[in-house]
């Protein structure tokens, strides 16, 4: 009973934070609003890694591929069935869940480096499928245009706070921020409930877990399914704010970037994912100003973010080798 109340109270706090964040969008320029939407997308994507790796103890290097599946499913559903964007995002999450469910069966038989290798192969292979099937739009991808900002949003009292026009990017921010907060709330509830306890038991010691009656393989499948539905949702959100699903959006780099974001924030730290997401969005900008100050060429600017991301990953692992274990002692 106590738990239920605190969870509802948390929902209230999250709603209040959401309102404040949305009101803030009236006071910053359009680039920051867009970056805010990017942060929201990364928060959802990192939450999917946190759930899988941080809690159920399975490693995936292929979440970029699951994001691609979610993105293409949402785009195809939106363009083909003419459904509302909200339903399209749900289709993305569902497609991710289905992919995760299938992947989970493979994952149940694999562990450690074998699982990492399998998921890595997915990250390489899946996005290039778009080049094989015409319906997926090839290299150029598919447009995902949710259209103009609805008047109920641009004329709402919230929109009157601050200044500036109600741009499409602001609308993306309005959509993605509540989704990100809702994701954290839901994932937190899952992880603190019976499912989360099963995940943790399995992560700590699979043999012991099965001795107390936890079915390890179906728990692994469940973890992959939950996690992938979030990755699918994040992919659909990314396609929406980019206005495009294309193979080059979902590169191997994206998969690694997500893992970096999760590791940066402590892989089992759900709230830390917000910081991880902010750092990921800030890296290209920081790199660009560093490269400009050093007088580097445009090519240096283009390649520096990758180097910085990799360096951060290495440094985090070196400085906090057991970062993921910190919260386990709780």
């Amino acid at each position: 009973m106590h738990k239920r109340i605190s969870s509802l109270a948390r929902l209230g706090i999250f709603a209040a934070i959401g309102l404040v964040l949305i009101a803030l969008s009236g006071f910053v320029d359009e680039l920051r609003v867009y970056q805010g939407a990017e942060v929201a997308v990364y928060v959802v994507a990192i939450a999917s890694i946190t759930l899988l790796t941080g809690y159920s103890g399975q490693l995936s290097l292929g979440h970029g591929a699951i994001m691609a599946i979610g993105a293409y499913a949402a785009t195809l559903a939106f363009n083909g069935w003419h459904i509302p964007w909200m339903a399209a995002l749900a289709v993305g999450a569902l497609a991710g869940a289905v992919a995760g469910y299938i992947l989970g069966f493979a994952a149940a038989r694999l562990s450690g480096p074998y699982l990492a290798g399998t998921t890595l192969a997915l990250a390489v292979g899946i996005p290039s499928l778009a080049n094989q099937f015409h319906v997926l739009g090839g290299e150029q991808g598919l447009t995902f245009d949710i259209g103009d900002v609805p008047t109920w949003a641009s004329h709402s009292w919230l929109a009157k706070i601050g200044h500036g026009d109600f741009t499409t990017y602001k609308w993306f921010y309005w959509i993605t921020v509540p989704i990100a907060l809702a994701t954290i709330w839901v994932v937190r509830n899952i992880l603190t409930g019976p499912i989360g306890r099963r995940f943790k038991a399995m992560r700590s010691n699979p043999t012991a877990a099965s001795l107390i009656g936890i079915r390890v393989s179906s728990t692994k499948v469940a973890a992959f399914t939950y996690s992938s539905s979030l990755a699918g949702l994040a992919g659909a959100m990314l396609a929406m704010i980019l206005g495009l699903s294309a193979p080059l959006v979902f590169t191997l780099t994206l998969s690694f970037t997500l893992v970096t974001g999760a590791v940066l924030s402590g892989v089992s730290n759900l709230y830390g994912g917000i910081i991880g997401a902010m750092v990921l969005v800030a890296i290209p900008e920081l790199s660009a100003s560093v490269a400009t100050h050093l007088g580097g060429s445009e090519k240096v600017t283009a390649n520096l973010p990758g180097v910085v991301t990799s360096l951060l990953l290495i440094l985090t692992v070196l400085i906090l080798p057991n970062g993921a274990r910190v919260r386990r002692s709780k």
Binding site: E30, R32, T168, L242, E285, E298, V326, S329
Partner: protein
């Protein structure tokens, strides 16, 4: 554990603080105190932006375009600029990826706050940024793509394509083949996106039939097995003529592959204007040289090796002085020509430069401006169509393209992107302004 947790927290806080600081510090508008109200224009500068592939499969050759533009702008700046303002060009790499083009265009418009985009390259890349550019009413001038769709003023109100469309090019090429290679078997290799689709449309209008049509995904040209399949299909189809409609790196791959397969001298290659820069091709695939020599290429600008052409001569001089004497090829020529038109557009838009006055100036006066191309420019209040014609040249290994009828004998064919006829047109090009500095 406790120690580790506090370390972890401290690091997290440090990250958060650094991030916040970085975001705030880069939020400061660069021209907050500018007396002029238009974005990207101050009392002394005009800031323009370009997104091009500087890395990746399409980069070879194209990566020279923005620097050639910059060189010509530097030349104009050194001679007083435009109405007292100096032109700055912000160059960003999009690696020929629509997704990256989208994000760097965001940066150019929202962070660098450029006045206009100029010469942005690639059909898919320009498509990906269209909604954003339209929403923000950012002028997008003289884009480096020939997709005929961009000429729709309704769909792309702020976009002014310059190159003749791929549909025009394919139609003209179809007519040229029908006239010069009647009854021959023709094969076509093309990039499988809107670029290729536009070409297929043109060939269909011209009534060209193919013994083999070979689509490929952009960037797959770096895969030898893919190229092997192209050549295998050409050999199997027993084609006499092979048309290449792709970027220069794809042409290089195809010619290199064809040489290995022993096709030298057996197939007449005809190259689309996008991928026919000999300097780029022979740098990428030296083995392609025997096939490159004698290949026929469609062009709308004069041959870069033709120093007797006043425009080419001027651009060669500017290249020597302001572009570190880069190898002078089609890409440099395209870049400088685009920059010269940009300067005329900026001048015509007047001292009180705004995005609206710039676009109005192009519509009303663009058709009269000096440019190196042989075909007229067709901008008007109702048309966003730029050039409309091509001539055919035969390539030599040293980068020279000599008109097929003999040196200096440029024969221009013009047409439209629809069902209009292909006609031989007389060349009536505006004279080069004195010292190549626009005085419009």
């Amino acid at each position: 554990m406790q120690v580790q947790r506090s370390t972890s927290r401290r690091i997290s806080i440090a990250f958060a603080a650094l991030t916040a600081l970085a975001l705030v510090s880069t939020s400061m508008p660069a021209n907050a105190f500018s007396p002029h109200s238009e974005v990207g224009v101050s009392g002394s500068t005009i800031k323009l932006g370009i997104s091009v592939p500087l890395t990746g499969a399409a980069a070879p050759g194209y990566n020279k375009v923005p620097y050639a533009m910059k060189a010509y702008f530097d030349y104009v700046n050194a001679n007083g600029g435009v109405n007292g303002r100096k032109i700055q060009l912000v160059i960003k790499d999009d690696a020929y990826s629509p997704a990256l083009a989208k994000s760097v265009t965001n940066d150019l418009v929202l962070k660098d706050k450029v006045f206009a985009l100029v010469g942005t390259l690639g059909t898919a890349d320009n498509e990906a940024t269209t909604k954003f550019v339209n929403d923000h009413k950012v002028p997008r001038l003289f884009i480096n793509t020939g997709f005929s769709g961009f000429a729709s003023a309704k769909k792309y109100p702020t976009t002014f394509p310059l190159f003749p469309s791929y549909a025009m090019e394919a139609k003209i090429m179809g007519k040229y083949i029908a006239d010069n290679f009647p009854g021959k078997k023709v094969a076509l290799i093309y990039q499988d996106d809107d670029f290729g689709a536009d070409a297929l449309k043109g060939f269909a209008t011209a009534g060209t039939t193919f013994v083999a049509k070979i689509p490929y995904v952009s960037a797959s040209q770096s895969d030898p097995t893919v190229v092997g399949k192209w050549i295998g299909t050409i050999v199997q189809s027993q084609a006499d003529v092979a048309i290449m409609f792709g970027v220069s790196s794809a042409t290089a791959a195809a010619l290199g592959g064809a040489y290995k397969a022993g096709l030298a001298g057996k197939v007449q290659w005809i190259l689309g204007s996008v991928g026919s820069d000999p300097t780029t091709i022979k740098t990428l695939a030296p083995t392609a040289l025997p096939l490159l020599t004698g290949a026929i290429a469609a062009s709308f600008l004069p041959s870069p090796a033709d120093s007797s052409d006043p425009y080419v001569k001027l651009f060669q001089d500017v290249n020597a002085k302001y572009n570190n004497n880069a190898v002078f090829d089609n890409n440099v020529l395209v870049g400088m020509n685009t920059a010269m038109l940009t300067v005329q557009a900026l001048r015509a838009a007047g001292k009180n430069l705004t995005r609206a006055s710039l676009m109005a100036a192009i519509s009303s006066k663009g058709s009269t401006w000096a440019s190196a191309a042989f075909s007229p420019i067709l901008y008007s209040g109702t048309s966003h169509v730029g050039y409309s014609g091509y001539w055919f040249g035969r390539l030599s290994g040293n980068g020279d393209s000599t008109p097929v009828d003999g040196a200096g004998k440029y024969v221009l064919y013009t047409t439209d992107s629809g069902s209009g006829a292909v006609v031989k047109a007389t060349i009536n090009r505006p004279a080069l302004p004195e010292k190549g500095l626009p005085n419009n």
